[in-house]
Each structure stands twice: as C-alpha cells, then as structure tokens.
C-alpha cells in the first residue's frame, strides 16, 4: 500500500472517530428486570336496608295515632359489601328529616334512636330500634297532624379503623 493511501485511510478513520465523539451519544449495555401482572382489587363497603317495608308500617295504627301511643320499630340492615364494616344510625341526619305537625308544637312526637355501633362481617345483618311516642299530653291541635321521617344508617370500613377500646371506629369518614 502506498504511503498516500495509508495517510488517506488514517484521515478517514480519524474523521469518523471525531464524528462519533462530536455526536455526544453512546449506548451502554442494559438489562431489564420485570415483574408483570400485579393485581390490586379494592373491596366494597355497602349497607342495605332489608327491613322489607317502612318502619311506620310496623305500627298497625300508623294511620290513626293517638296520644299515649308508642312502639319500638325495628330497622334491619345487611352488609352487602365484601369488607367488614361498622354501622350505626346517623342520629343528626335522621332527626333532621323529621317533618310535619306531629313533630312540632309543645308536645311533639318523639323518636328515640338506637345508638349502638355494630361491626358487621360481609353478609351479616343487624337490627336497630326506633321508638316512637306521642305524649299523652298531646292536645287536640295534633288531631289529623302528620309526621314523616327517614332513618339513615351509616357504614364505614372496620379494617384499619378501630378505636383503642375496639368497640367502634376511629372515624366515620
């Protein structure tokens, strides 16, 4: 090979090398570690009213209440979710639904709401008592008056949510 050819080749090589360096990029060998198909499924907190009708329908005299009448009505709820849950009657919300003349005036009908807190496993049921009473002192101004109410039961997961006594949640929401 002539000297000229040798020099020419050296220049080409050098130029190529310079081009690679000037480009500023390079590749390293890499390997990848992968773990696929990781599944995360969240559970459900569901509480259902399975009383099978209104609470008031448990009172045969619901349409003709008289002073002195009273009875314990029962609401039945069921955990239809797949996580254990605490359930209770929401006192404030329930009392907030009372409307009508029977709940007004000087001797109104009273509702005494069960205040127990129950932990229900999935599929389990429990009952809550609601006592109604129209005082004997209710006067004629209450004749034909009506009273309506709803009973609201709250549910919250019991997992990771237990008070120090173990008989209720740390938080309801």
């Amino acid at each position: 090979m002539s000297i000229k050819k040798k020099l020419a080749m050296a220049l080409v090589t050098t130029t190529a090398g310079a081009a690679i360096m000037a480009a500023g990029s390079f590749a390293l060998f890499t390997g990848t570690a992968t773990n696929t198909g990781n599944t995360f499924t969240a559970g459900t907190v569901i509480v259902s009213d399975i009383t099978n009708g209104t609470l008031s329908s448990q009172e045969v005299n619901a349409g003709k209440i008289a002073p002195g009448d009273g009875k314990t009505l029962t609401m039945t709820v069921k955990n239809d979710g797949n996580l254990s849950e605490w359930v209770k009657i929401d006192q404030d919300e329930t009392n907030g639904t009372k409307t009508g003349g029977l709940f007004g005036g000087s001797t109104p009908m009273t509702l005494t709401l069960d205040n127990k807190v129950v932990e229900l496993a999935p599929g389990a049921e429990t009952t809550f008592n609601v006592d109604y009473s129209l005082p004997l002192a209710a006067d004629n101004s209450y004749q034909s008056a009506t009273g309506s109410f709803n009973v609201k039961v709250d549910a919250v997961q019991s997992r990771n949510n237990r008070n120090s006594a173990g008989d209720g949640p740390n938080a309801w929401q």
Binding site: L28, F29, T30, G31, T32, A33, T34, N35, T36, G37, N38, T39, F40, T41, A42, G43, T44, V45, N82, L83, Q157, R159, N160, N161, S164, N170, A171
Partner: protein, 254 residues
C-alpha cells in the same frame, strides 16, 4: 586486468542501470502476523423471581392459590403490603441499577385514581450474615408486619404526615431474622424510591445510588404498596394491574 575491468564495468553498468531505471527495486522483507485475535462482548441480562421461590408470577395478587400463599386480599384504605423480588444478574457483566418504573396494564379512570392515591416504597435489602432462603422469607414477613404496625401506631399517635414518618423510620431499621440453621442474621434498608405510584409511571433515575449487582449474584428488592386512609370511595370494587420494572446498565465505565 582486462577481466577485472570487464567484471567491474558490467557491475557498474548494472548498478547504473538500476539507478537510471529509477522506479522499482526490491528489498529484503519479512512480516510477523499475530492471528486469531478475538473480542467477545459481555452480557448484561437479568432474571426475576418472587421472594417465595420457586413460585413464579406477580408479587401482588389478591387470593391465595396454588401459585402462591401470600395473597393481599381485597384492598381498603389504610392497607399496606410488602412483597419481595429477587433480581439475579445472569450475565457476565456487573450491572448497576439505573431506573425503576411501573407500567399500567390497562386504562380507565380507576388507573389514574389508584396511581394518584397509592404510595410505593422500593427498597434494597443489604444482608448481613449467612442469609439463605429461609431468612429471606422471614425478612419479607417481618417487613410486611413492621410496615402495617408502624402505620397503625402513627395513626394512633396522631402523626400528621404518616408517610414521611413511616419511611424515615424504615430507613433506620435493621431487621433481624434467622436462617435455616437458626443463626441470627440481619438486613438493613437502602431506599430506592418513596413516592406516589403516579410518579413511578415515568422511569425514575436511581443510578446515583450506586446499587450494583455483580455478575451471577442476586439482589433482593422490597416493594411496599400502601393505600392512605384518605383513599376515596371511587376505588371501591375496582381492579388495576401493574408491571414493575427495573433497568440495569453495565457498571463498568459508567
């Protein structure tokens, strides 16, 4: 004398003709060749297996089954589960952990919701002592229990930023377990990633941690996924699937 002259003249003439001819001539030459030079590039290949070897499959699954007995069960806010992943360098080059990432295996609002709410901690465990498979399995159980209890303690004591508290405590833990011979061994924690799952959806550069896996050796990585107590109802009854991925680069010249 004449012969000498005659002998001289042809040589002189020949010599002159050689010079006058000008262009070519021959010199004695030789060459030495070194043959058979071979370069073989090394390899960097990684294989993974769950901590419950020889079981294969994802680290996180819901129900115990014939492929594993460490199901997480259904998830609820406040839940935390830790699972281990052995990463073995099956190549001939040492590897350096370069990035960690996660890949959603589906789409939908449940994915964005889960990603934005779930916390992920990825750690590497540095073993001390004669660690064997028995010790590794105990380690994962111990870490899982530690994490769950630490969260409960934080909530009970009213710690404001539970995640930061937990992870700072985690970094200083040395977990003590026993190997199959009953010998005491321990593992300390090197945190690789600690943030929302959403931020893991883009590869996170962890090369500066300098975590390397020599050729033919194995690294144990711990993955902890947690749902905060504040996780919303929109996650109820939803299922999401993810791939966890780690990229290694050659350690040499890097």
């Amino acid at each position: 004398m004449k012969k000498k002259l005659l002998a001289i003249i042809p040589a002189g003439v020949m010599a002159a003709s050689l010079l006058i001819g000008g262009a070519t001539y021959a010199l004695f030459t030789d060459s030495a060749t070194n043959t058979g030079n071979t370069f073989t590039a090394g390899t960097l290949t990684m294989s993974t297996s769950r901590d419950d070897i020889p079981m294969a499959g994802p680290m996180f699954y819901t129900n115990d089954n014939t492929n594993g007995w460490s199901g997480t069960g259904l998830w609820a806010p406040g839940d935390s589960h830790t699972r281990g992943l052995f990463v073995r360098n099956t190549g001939s080059l040492d590897g350096k952990l370069a990035t960690v990432s996660a890949i959603a295996e589906g789409s939908g609002t449940q994915y964005s919701s889960f990603e934005s709410q779930a916390d992920v901690t990825i750690a590497v465990f540095a073993p001390h002592g004669n660690f064997d498979q028995t010790a590794y399995r105990q380690l994962m159980q111990v870490v899982d229990n530690w994490y769950a209890n630490a969260r409960k303690n934080a909530w009970t004591n009213g710690i404001a930023n539970v995640d930061d508290y937990i992870n700072q405590s985690y970094l200083h833990q040395v977990f003590d377990v026993k190997n199959v011979l009953g010998e005491d061994v321990s593992a300390s924690v090197i945190e690789v990633y600690n943030d929302k799952l959403s931020n893991l959806m883009s590869p996170t550069d962890v090369k500066t941690l300098g975590i390397t896996v020599p050729s033919q050796e194995t690294l144990l990585m711990g993955y902890t996924v947690s749902l905060p107590l504040t996780a919303g109802n929109d996650l109820q009854n939803k299922t999401v699937n993810f791939t966890f991925q780690n990229e290694f680069q050659q350690a040499k010249n890097n």
